[in-house]
Symmetry: C3
Subunit: 268 residues, 3 copies
């Protein structure tokens, strides 16, 4: 059995060979950046949200990314149509509950997607993940006001309850399905100064899910790859504009060998 570090390298390698199509129904802020991230890493992005085409589109896809960052009722309807079709086809679904906890619409929409579809992975910051369980958890806008540590206990129980894999991202990321648990410490603080790095992590997880049947290892290795791209970008850039461009460059330049060697994934 291969180590998680070897798995990381293998996953990246397969993405570049197979170029999986990743279907995104995502927010307006990050569409361009996440599409570019998928291309830079070797996958193939498609953004499509019309209710009368999402079933067709998701049928070609290796994974479906649902991100509620700039949601409306109509977009949630499309997400659920696409999510039901993906569930039927066995296509992995990854949900990014952006701002869940900040408004009722976001919290209820995230819960509706979870109840109507088989979400394979849910990625959020600590506040967003906590809000999926605790009605009283409140988020300020889309930035977390809780630490990953605060969310760790809940994560394990919530993952089991929802029968999904949870990824809570922060300075150290936590990935768990309630049994297996990984902590990923790749990353750089400038990632917090670029909009949509969380959303991009979600999309990157989508690409890894398309080639790795184990959601926990797919998610952990994806987050290590994403964090390593941040580290590489920070070797050259010291401010967020050139850093965000440098991250796209790094996603393209990181080889499977580099990822295997430099990923920081620990199991508990």
């Amino acid at each position: 059995m291969s180590s998680i570090h070897e798995k990381a390298a293998a996953n990246l390698n397969i993405i570049r060979e197979k170029k999986p199509l990743i279907h995104n129904i995502t927010n307006f802020v990050v569409m361009n950046y996440t599409a570019n991230a998928l291309l830079a890493m070797g996958a193939s992005p498609v953004m499509a949200h019309a209710p009368n085409e999402v079933e067709d589109m998701v049928s070609f896809a290796g994974a479906l990314v649902l991100n509620i960052g700039t949601l409306t009722d109509e977009w949630i309807d499309s997400m659920i149509i696409a999510g039901k079709k993906a569930t039927e086809l066995g296509t992995p679904i990854i949900l990014d509950p952006v701002g869940s906890g900040a408004t009722d619409l976001r919290t209820q929409s995230a819960k509706k997607i979870i109840s109507c579809t088989k979400t394979t992975v849910i990625r959020g910051n600590a506040s967003e993940i906590l809000s999926l369980r605790d009605e009283n958890s409140v988020t300020k806008g889309v930035d977390s006001i809780h630490s990953v540590d605060e969310a760790t206990e809940t994560a394990s129980a919530l993952a089991k309850e929802l029968n999904t894999t949870l990824a809570i991202t922060g300075p150290v990321d936590l990935v768990t399905d309630g049994q297996k648990k990984y902590r990923i410490s790749n990353g750089h603080e400038l990632m917090g100064c670029v909009t949509g790095t969380g959303c991009t992590a979600t999309t990157v997880i989508g690409a890894f899910l398309a080639v790795d049947n184990d959601p926990v290892s797919a998610t952990a290795t994806a987050l290590a790859y994403m964090g390593l791209a941040g580290e590489k970008a920070a070797e050259k850039a010291t401010a967020p504009g050139s850093f965000m461009i440098g991250m796209l460059d790094a996603m393209y330049e990181i080889t499977p060998e580099m990822l295997e060697k430099e990923c920081h994934i620990e199991t508990e």
Copy 2:
């Protein structure tokens, strides 16, 4: 009483300490760039436009940015819902009437927002600001065909009439509430070669409004900060792609001390 230069430094300092949440209902073209600008300067962006969540979201916000760049009737409805709530809460509202004067829909939508909400600041180019008063003022697309000088007379009267602060941006920016008047000469011509620098100026003003109760000084210091970012970017970049990335870098790198020293704000 502190000078306007000291005020500029103080405002930037408070933004970085308090990280005010800025709620944007803005156009699709600039969402990513303006979110990144807010993060780079130290504020916290949120983009949310669903009619059934904007009241919740604006309640967390330090300022509300309304930008009609890619408007539809539905988005204007959301802007008015959010704007009424912000008015009720006393949260500053800044309106960017993109392309007002170019089409009836834009001119009428801008006027509707102004009549239904208490707009604290309106920022536009000369043609856009003139169109708010003069039915016959016509804009070609979203670029100004009038000079700031042409709009100066109107600006003072219009600011009084609308009981708001007006910012007319161009090579030299004018800020007035009909009584106080500032001219800001920071900036660089490459800013005209990047889409959404006007919209970004509007969002930057939003962040300054969140920390400065005086709309005139908030707006003048914000525009000086924005213009200085252009100057800093132009020290390294000579073409618009790297310039626009350099502006994000500069927004992150400009310190309160630099801003105090290098801002060019004159009163009349």
Copy 3:
């Protein structure tokens, strides 16, 4: 009569003198990048999609760009309203049938736009163009699974049938109206690693159509300019993030003289 190389230089020169307004109804992924491309090259972008303003806006425009990359029924309706007005005014229309062949909605929407308006140019990859004729042509997502060679035969016949100019882009681009035929070999493989380079080519063609009455020469020279920007960017950048920024820089820096000298356009 001037050569096609001289025509390229002349077109770019007129764009920079006249700064034609290009009205885009396009997808969310590329709006920012294509607006920046138009500004960098010297044209003036406007994005407007509200059904009750597109007729007004297109009346100011030198060309109308219709791009179905993130379509819904409502947006297609707006495209047809704008397209009919442009047809009435004799304003050139360029259609980008993104993902046509991938879903019924896209194929049918592209065909509907073609049947309801006078499209001057249609630009797509080989699969997209083939799908406009062959009901059985299937595309995976938005990337081509056919070569330009496979589409060449169809292109000539289809261009005549639809009475339009077709541009099929790939490593070598083909432009034909069924009689004249050009092949453009400018470009760089990194363009395939950046989202929306195809959509940007479409918008660039829009700007050239605004200043050149011959759709075939306008399209061929636009594609040479676009490809040359890729080549120039690749002189400095080796990864897609900095490459995509470098392309914007190059669009600004390429002079008419450089374009005349370095464009690779061949006629058959």
